[in-house]
């Protein structure tokens, strides 16, 4: 490694830990730990949202997919994000904020019942632990290619650094370090774009070189019978189900909005994040395309980004880009740890242990954060040979995002949905999605089908089960779009 790269990497790690530990001094109780004492401002939250959203899986997996299918991969950042982020910003975030909840499962618990709260918290927590392990493994892949470090060493170092500030500082430390990390990511991404385009003689030459042998690589939609990214599947599965389910229901994403100092800051943060999201393909799609144009000698698309870092960037910048990948891992990992710790501490523990002491939430939350981090570190070395990282994660998400989205949409926008209908729809919807995984149906369509089933089941079951009272529904449904029940 060039000494300049080493200086950049060490400097970054020190600054991150310093910022995180400094913010950590403000944590006095569980509200400070999980919601930053409801003190965060919109632009910090917005950057933090993007930091949590872009992870090493995005960097490595999305670059790899872009290498294979081209700019169509950017749909995850455009049609697969922006509409849902706008709706979350204007409708759902104000609703959650007014309900005064700490988490999305807590909202579902108020809107349906405590069983729904616990089931959703349990499913998302289990998936989060697995996703954290995958994120650590993805980083190990980069470290192995770039530095030749053994996997166990990179996992150990990453875990210690993230643990230092996220376990002590909670959401505020996570949000401020995320904001710093995202700034680094954007700087590095834009430098790669600039260097890549100029090396190839400008955008026109780059586009010509790219489409010469890959005519579809600058088309945002691929043919409808494409095995990996059929356009109807992208719109129906990703745009209408997976994306809203993520941006409206993801605890790791929305928790920082719930920690905003006002309802307006909470809403504006998501809209600001959507602006940043529009330009994210420059960071995570472009390197994959660049590797293709430069005829990178790689046998696996997931190695496109590590190859770019190692072979295209000069010393110093190479270290900075490497830092961006580390930052991507850290910002997602710290968010997942804090969000999952919150769900286990409050949404599972509070429901299971009736005589819990809320004063213990801070200590319990910190211990659970440590356990989660250690679990992810233990799982990570065993995750390999899963195929494309990105596809694997999306397939996992398609299991439960359809039913969860149905519960949130019907719960927030309609007064009809009832508690028992919600519980049975959730259980049967996840089971249906799991069964469909054994067919040859693309995961986009599985998400769409399980969502359609869940909407229909929730609607029909709500006719035969008792609902909440008008008074109970007042702060839990979005009134301008809700139909009032005839009494």
């Amino acid at each position: 490694m060039h000494p300049l790269d080493l200086v950049v990497i060490v400097g970054y790690v020190l600054v991150t830990v310093f910022v995180g530990l400094r913010v950590a001094r403000r944590v006095k109780n569980a509200r400070d730990f999980f919601l930053a004492g409801r003190s965060l401002t919109w632009w910090v939250i917005g950057l933090s949202i993007i930091g949590s959203n872009i992870d090493t899986n995005s960097y490595v997996g999305a670059s790899g997919n872009a290498y294979t299918i081209g700019i169509a991969q950017a749909n995850f950042e455009w049609i697969g994000a922006i509409p849902a982020m706008i709706i979350a910003s204007l409708i759902f975030i104000p609703l959650y904020w007014r309900a005064g909840v700490y988490s999305i499962p807590e909202y579902l618990g108020l809107r349906y019942n405590q069983a729904v709260r616990m089931v959703t918290a349990l499913i998302t927590s289990l998936f989060a632990v697995f996703a954290m392990g995958i994120a650590m493994w993805a980083l190990a892949l980069v470290l192995e290619t770039y530095l030749g470090w053994p996997i166990w060493l990179s996992i150990l170092i990453s875990g210690v650094v993230v643990g230092l500030y996220s376990i002590t500082g909670g959401l505020a430390a996570v949000a401020f370090t995320d904001a710093l990390q995202v700034s680094i990511m954007f700087i590095c991404g834009l430098i790669i774009v600039g260097l890549g385009i100029s090396e190839l003689g400008g955008f026109t030459d780059f586009a010509a070189a790219l489409t010469r042998e890959n005519p579809d690589h600058l088309s945002v939609y691929l043919p409808a019978d494409h095995p990996q990214s059929p356009w109807p599947g992208v719109i129906l599965g990703l745009g209408i189900v997976l994306s809203p389910a993520y941006w409206i229901a993801s605890q790791a994403i929305l928790q920082r909005s719930l920690g905003a100092k006002s309802q307006w800051d909470a809403s504006a943060s998501m809209m600001f994040a959507a602006f940043a999201k529009t330009f994210v393909p420059l960071l995570i799609i472009f390197p994959g395309l660049l590797a293709l144009v430069l005829n990178a000698p790689i046998d696996d698309g997931d190695k496109a980004l590590p190859w770019i870092i190692k072979n295209v960037l000069p010393p110093g910048l190479s270290g900075l880009m490497f830092v961006a990948v580390i930052a991507a891992l850290q910002s997602s990992l710290d968010s997942s740890i804090n969000a999952t710790s919150l769900m286990v501490t409050r949404d599972i523990r509070h429901v299971l242990i009736k005589d819990h002491n809320p004063d213990h939430d801070l200590a319990v939350g910190r211990w659970i954060s440590l356990v989660l981090l250690l679990s992810a570190m233990i799982i990570a070395p065993f995750i390999s040979d899963l195929g494309g990282i990105f596809i694997f994660l999306q397939t996992g998400l398609s299991l439960f995002q359809g039913p969860m989205l149905a519960l949130l949409l019907m719960g927030a926008l309609s007064q009809r949905a009832t508690p028992n209908a919600g519980l049975w729809t959730l259980i049967s919807g996840v089971a249906l999605a799991a069964v469909l995984q054994f067919t040859d149906i693309n995961f986009y369509y599985i998400a769409f089908l399980s969502f359609c089933y869940s909407m229909a089941a929730l609607w029909l079951l709500s006719y035969i089960t008792p609902g909440l009272t008008e008074e109970e529904l007042t702060t839990l449904t979005y009134r301008p779009f809700a139909r009032r029940r005839a009494s």
């Binding site: 204007l90 945002v220 939609y221 409808a224 719109i235 504006a268 529009t278």
Partner: protein
Amino acid sequence: MIAWLQSLPAEWGNYVSILLFCSLGVMVWLIPLKTITADLEAPRKWHDIRWWATALIALQLVIYIVF
């Protein structure tokens, strides 16, 4: 239904996306301003994030028209 969907040309994806974003643009302006700025004492013009949403949607329309 999936077989029928798979027979549709890829350009339709762009048209459907453009239609979706235009519909979203209309929906954004159906949301009352008071629900957005409810907790602000003296909201200014730039606090109306419906304008932010409109700019975002315009950006997306450009992307799906060009690519």
